[in-house]
């Protein structure tokens, strides 16, 4: 277990370092930041002074090390737009994004778990077909378009639910459906195929022979084991929702990290963009690490030696 833990931590660290390197390179590709900071009519001397002040006159590897040092203390510089530390600006918005991601995940599971289980139990029947159609649509309809349709029908036409902003639990419903829409397909399919495997196994047959109620057999014994592959997906999709709800946040004017980063891209506010990319990468790595380590808890058979 310890060797495995160390290896996974090491992989995670390499991944974060890689992300830092990509951000650093992208920052250099972006052109001379000094040109953005100084007025148009600044003299050669002003440029040189500014470069020295920012450390841009030093060799690239040194600059990278300085960048790393700052990154580890969460210092990505000040937002050009808001004149406040970039990372702090984003962390302030993290709760909104977290709330949306959790709600999206809840929606996805609420739909995928019953559908996955039922379509395995009633294989080939109408539930199974419905699940198949939903899975196909889920992958073919982009989440942001689903969001627009939800706004059109449920907010504009029927006026059942609010479409924009974050003011109460009701505001969470539509964006959560739009965000949770995509993973439903994959989750349902995964759960269905692992349920099918397990419903064929000896211990399920034993349980039935012993006269356990079918409901207990399916929902308590089969689902518990079939959920292991689903757990992996939950982690990956949750990480994706946390770090990738950009378009959905824009569609619903949700005041989260993603929307702030999109705004920053338009404003060429590089410190915020960089901080956003790194925040996403770190969240992604950490969530995946936690998922990997949690297998042992769900399924005692998987204990890393």
């Amino acid at each position: 277990m310890r060797a495995y833990l160390i290896r996974r931590l090491w992989q995670g660290a390499v991944a974060v370092l890689g992300a830092l390197l990509i951000v650093f390179v992208a920052q250099r590709l972006a052109g001379d930041p000094v040109a953005l900071l100084l007025p148009m009519d600044a003299s050669e001397e002003d440029f040189a002074a500014m470069r020295e002040a920012l450390g841009l006159d030093r060799p690239l590897p040194v600059q990278f090390l300085v960048f790393l040092r700052d990154a580890f203390t969460g210092d990505f510089g000040k937002s050009y737009q808001w004149q406040a530390p970039a990372m702090a600006l984003l962390l302030e918005r993290l709760p909104a994004t977290l709330e949306l991601a959790l709600a999206g995940l809840a929606f996805a599971l609420l739909l995928a778990v019953p559908l996955g289980v039922m379509s395995a139990v009633y294989r080939g029947r109408w539930v199974d077909r419905l699940a198949k159609v939903l899975a196909l649509l889920g992958q073919a309809m982009p989440g942001f378009w689903v969001g627009l349709l939800l706004i059109l029908f449920l907010a504009v036409r029927l006026q059942w639910l609010p479409a924009f902003g974050r003011e109460g639990p009701l505001h969470l419903v539509l964006p959560a459906i739009a965000l949770g829409w995509y993973p439903v397909a994959a989750m349902t399919r995964t759960l269905r195929s692992s349920m099918l495997d397990i419903l064929d196994s000896d211990y399920i047959r034993t349980g039935r022979v012993m006269g356990l109620p079918e409901r207990t057999v399916i929902w308590r014994y089969a689902l518990r084991n079939a959920a292991v592959p689903l757990a992996t997906m939950i982690g990956v999709y949750f990480a994706n929702m946390l770090g990738g709800a950009f378009v959905i946040e824009v569609v619903f004017a949700w005041p989260g990290v993603g929307r702030a980063v999109v705004d920053a891209v338009f404003a060429r506010d590089f410190p915020v963009v960089q901080a956003g990319v790194l925040l996403s990468a770190v969240i992604f790595v950490v969530v995946n690490l936690l998922v990997d380590l949690s297998y042992g808890l769900i399924d005692p058979r998987i204990r890393h030696g």
Partner: protein, 279 residues
Amino acid sequence: MAERREARFPVVSCVVLGLVLLCAVVGPWFAPHEASEIVLAESMTPPFWRSGGSLDYPLGTDMLGRDILSRIIAGARVSVTVAVYAIGLSGGIGAALGISAGYFGGIVDAVISRLIDIQMSIPAIPLAMLFAAVLPPGEGMVITIIVLTYWTWYARIVRGEVLSLRERDFITVAKVAGVSSPMILIRHLTPNVLNTLLVLATLQFGSVIVFEAGLSFLGLGIQPPQVSWGGMLADGRNFIEVAWWLITMPGLAIMASCLASNLLGDWLRDTFDPKRRLT
């Protein structure tokens, strides 16, 4: 996932994809209007089956009186162009790296595998934001972003396939017979992963269309006056209360192309790899 005994050839999918490709290649010839032709007098005309609609503008017009159908046809060109370049490049680069990693093993494999790990641990959309902030917007940028995020797909799967192919007799025999490494890679390994590549590429088509539409919707992808489905959705979003067709029609185009390529991809996979049909 399906337990179809024999997978049926997806005729409808091929027709839809054929139509999309046709629009992309010769669309301007048969589109009823010029995609960017502005007729303010006809703005916000509903689709023909609604009162006030007309067959001159079968799917209605937008806020500037531009014909939605013609714009969807024009948008197909952008989507297909981006998809073809993005899939070709990411597939080519990914396959080359995957084959090398699987065949050579050792340090080559270690380096390429770490690269894959790093790339895969950075979620695609934030990475896209980073590049959108740095590169000039347009088709080139969208293609670059897609290639950067998708090559790992091909590399990872091809590497796995080559790892198992490498141990097979025909490769061992080739090596013993003194065939050079580049020759083994090109003549013996590549043909054996072509099926997989074709399946991945078909499945990626839909995925690329959605990705491009998302970026263009945000305003970070294809820039006007070039027409894109995502851009049309962004325009329509501002008029969602008065003109439902502005956000439904381009979305349907995205959905149809994506659905068609997914179904075709599933069929190809089932056909090439009958084992999967049972699961």
